[in-house]
Amino acid sequence: MIRFLANRLLGMAVVLFLVCLFTYVIFFVLSPDPAVQICGKNCTPEAIDQIRANLGLDQPFWQQFWTFLSGLFVGRTYGTGANAVECVAPCLGYSFQSSQPVTGMILQRLPVSATVAIGAAVLWLLAGVSAGLVSAVREGKFTDRFITGLTLTGMSVPNYVLALSLQFLLVVTLGWLPFPQAVPFSEDPLQWFMNFLMPWIVLSIGAAAVYTRLTRANVIETLQENYVRTARAKGLSPGLVWRRHALRPALTPIVTIFGMDFAGLLGGALITETVFGLNGVGKLAADSITKNDQPVIMGVTLLAAFLVVVGNMVVDLLYTAIDPRVRVGSAA
């Protein structure tokens, strides 16, 4: 088990290192000179050189990359002497636009993205798995076909179309929901909830459709398994056969996919957050892309990669706990 963990951790470190390297190459080496960008319109060559020196852009690539990497773990200092600015770990640099530390910008927006992600995940898991189960039980019947039809629609409607039409329908036309306003939970829980309701629905519909189909397929497949027949031959009641011998094997793979999907979502829902004007990590990413704010884009990318890799690891560990074939090696 310890060996397994060490193995996973090492693999994770390697993946994250590579992600850092690639994003660094793409954003800092291949894109236009950030110093020119920061310097603005009235700029002198001396000023540019000064900025370069401050950002460490005059150093060779590997040196820069090393400084960036160590900044993530121990922080780094920009400039020298009186102008020196301390950036504490995990240091992702400063925004070219607002000169704020990127780490702080992300941390500030993370709670919004997390709220969106958690709510949506709960919603799609509940809706998807239960609809999938119903569909599987009623296989081939009207209910099943109806649900399958719905899932097709759910999967094919693009996020932004759904977001905009929901907004139009629920807020503008019907007036069931108040116009979204940023309200902290402690101030007005109802308004807070209403604010997040639409993003939750929009984000969860596509995933719920996918999970419905997945659950349905898994359950139907599991019911064909020989061990389900064995369970019936033992005289177990249909309920017990279902609960013990069909559900657990059928739902296990869903855990895997759920972990990955959820982790990915935590890193920000770009379109949904932008459409609903939610100030989350996704919106931050969208904004910084239009402004070519490289440190921010890089920070968000690294966060997303980190979450996916960690999510993957958690899923692996969970899987180990759930599936005895992975947990205990075969020793005949």
Binding site: N7, G11, V14
Partner: protein
């Protein structure tokens, strides 16, 4: 004694079993451990053993479907693992394999004609007499209706599909046919027919079989000589009747003792009854 057609000496095949992840421990599994065997022209060498004995891996080594870890394979006096390009092509023509599951080893989307002529086409050899005529002649030889040459594998029964597999092997006039559990998946009645077919073809063509099987009763019907494998090694080999009637190795004895048998006295009684029945019928006629 003439030079054997195939001689495998001290064959070893190891598989690396890699653990998970970057630090995963690598273990080696020695599937074939110092196996030496000979197949002479026109004979059938049966390689028998239980699952995991290494018999199928040995067959694959000889067919050059996988590479050896150590050891040599000589076919008609030439080292097989040194062959490349044209020579390897030629070897593939001289050694053919018939697999266990006829359906999965025949392309379901190809007609019999295309399947049977494929080995020639791959080897860029002319199809004697044209594909249609050639296929029909082959189908007749393996006991299939030649009018069905445009059908697909799924339109044949298991026994018939296996005959297609045999026809494909025969297409290039091989000198050695490796039959890897070729009759194991078939129903008894069909199995008997295919065994008879295999024997008849050998009588006609004079090629050799390397017959891989777990069923000792089947082996008794077809083998000239038998090699018994257990845990990657040949534990005993010899003339068929000697091995079956006077097994020397404890594992061979155990294997033979475990085979279920129809009581010989029941068989004897059945033959008596059968003879009596025939006499009665002749008397009536």
């Amino acid at each position: 004694m003439s030079e054997p057609l195939l001689r495998a000496s001290n064959l070893v095949k190891e598989f690396a079993i890699r653990g998970n992840g970057l630090l995963g421990r690598t273990a080696t599994l020695r599937a074939v451990d110092d196996v030496s065997l000979e197949v002479r022209t026109g004979e059938t060498l049966a390689l028998v053993g239980e699952s995991g004995s290494g018999k199928s891996t040995t067959a694959r080594l000889i067919a050059r479907l996988i590479d050896t870890t150590a050891g040599t394979i000589e076919f008609a006096g030439r080292e097989v693992h040194a062959l490349t390009g044209k020579d390897l092509h030629a070897y593939r023509g001289e050694v053919q394999v018939v697999f266990q599951d006829p359906y999965s080893s025949l392309n379901p989307k190809h007609t019999v004609e295309r399947i049977v002529t494929a080995p020639l086409v791959y080897q860029k050899r002319p199809v004697p007499g044209g594909a249609r005529v050639f296929t029909k002649a082959l189908m007749e030889r393996v006991g299939l209706n030649p009018d069905h040459s445009a059908r697909f594998p799924a339109q044949f029964s298991g026994g018939q599909a296996q005959r297609i597999g045999i026809a494909r092997a025969l297409a290039v006039s091989p000198r050695l046919i490796i039959a890897d559990e070729a009759v194991s998946a078939l129903d008894v009645s069909v199995q008997a027919q295919v065994i008879n077919l295999l024997r008849r073809l050998q009588d006609e063509e004079g090629f050799s079989y390397l017959f891989i099987a777990h069923d000792l009763a089947v082996v008794r019907q077809i083998a000239t000589r038998v090699a018994v494998m257990n845990e990657g090694r040949i534990v005993e080999s010899g003339e068929r009747d000697r091995v079956f009637e006077d097994p020397q190795d404890p594992y061979t004895r155990k294997l033979l003792a475990a085979v279920p048998r129809i009581r010989p006295e029941w068989d004897a009684a059945r033959r008596r009854n059968e003879a009596a029945r025939r006499e009665r019928q002749e008397a009536e006629a």
